[in-house]
Symmetry: C2
Subunit: 184 residues, 2 copies
């Protein structure tokens, strides 16, 4: 029986922390309200060692039904997930999950703004990539197409996120370029 | 040392289940994408009894920083929380929390649609109540004002939710009346 201490989620923490830092900054500067959703967990058993404390002693991770991030910018509903790869030439589709694709389809259908933040960590390059394009590539892959998204497609059709001092991953300018491109 | 089995959250389950049912219905009918956020939990220890299973054996509830529900309707960012009381004449402010008020202030400031779904369970009456009004009442209470919201205010300034067969708590018509009132 293996055992492990876990302080955070299980994958993608580097990128996740950068996004959380950016979101805190945007909130403090009144620029946008975007939060990471908590990881869904089913609680089975709770102990109360004393009146002021609830200690969960049995719980399980459950499959999320949405992406990790959502919020509001200028009244627009914003929804995205973040993925990173050490690959230099492509982003493997195995980093994505059907429930994320389905959720983003629903979001787009209801007038929301959906995208991914894609990180090529070896290149230190990050892109805001429209959900609509990723959904097409995903559906083509299900019909036997490519199982990854070429770097060239992401760098050409995505909106590059330029690094800054504070916040390091300042994705709001890229998001605003995306909104302008969408004409909303 | 007390001990208890918990299947759901700790309070307000009746109303929460009604809202979850409505949200599932709206999603399936492509009318809106609104989800309840998972309860934030900090995981301290995970056991792996076998390769396919992660069992959380030590975790704690953490203070949420947002409301419970958000999503998108016609491109609009929607954000709310739900409260119920057995009182017939007022909704006590102790049902609300500063972090929910602060979050909804941020949401309104960024152009989002914020409200509460308030249930008077003894009356079987439910209202969509604008966050802007609740925030004013909350801030007045902090300066020594009333510690509850009179039923008369909620029934007059709120948008009543009429019960239906499916979903039981069909709050979308009230939300659309609210959006029309807001002129968005
Ligand atoms: Mg993720
Ligand atoms: Mg609640």
């Amino acid at each position: 029986q293996a055992s492990k201490n876990v302080s955070y989620g299980k994958r993608g923490m580097g990128l996740e922390e950068l996004i959380n830092e950016a979101n805190s900054y945007y909130l403090s500067k009144h620029l946008a309200v975007i939060h990471k959703k908590p990881t869904p967990i089913t609680v089975v058993h709770v102990d109360y060692p004393d009146r002021s404390m609830a200690k969960i002693t049995e719980a399980y991770y459950v499959q999320p039904s949405t992406t990790d991030y959502n919020g509001v910018l200028d009244g627009h509903y914003i929804d995205f997930d973040a993925k990173e790869t050490k690959n230099k030439t492509n982003m493997p589709l195995k980093n994505f999950h059907q429930h994320q694709i389905t959720h983003l389809k629903n979001v787009l259908e209801n007038g929301g703004i959906g995208f991914f933040i894609l990180g090529f960590t070896t290149r230190s390059e990050f892109y805001l990539f429209p959900a609509s394009i990723l959904i097409k590539i995903w559906d083509e892959a299900l019909r036997g197409g490519e199982k990854s998204v070429p770097y060239s497609i992401i760098s050409q059709q995505g909106f590059q996120i330029n690094s800054k001092m504070i916040p390091s991953l300042d994705y709001l300018p890229a998001l605003k370029r995306f909104l302008k491109y969408l004409n909303v």
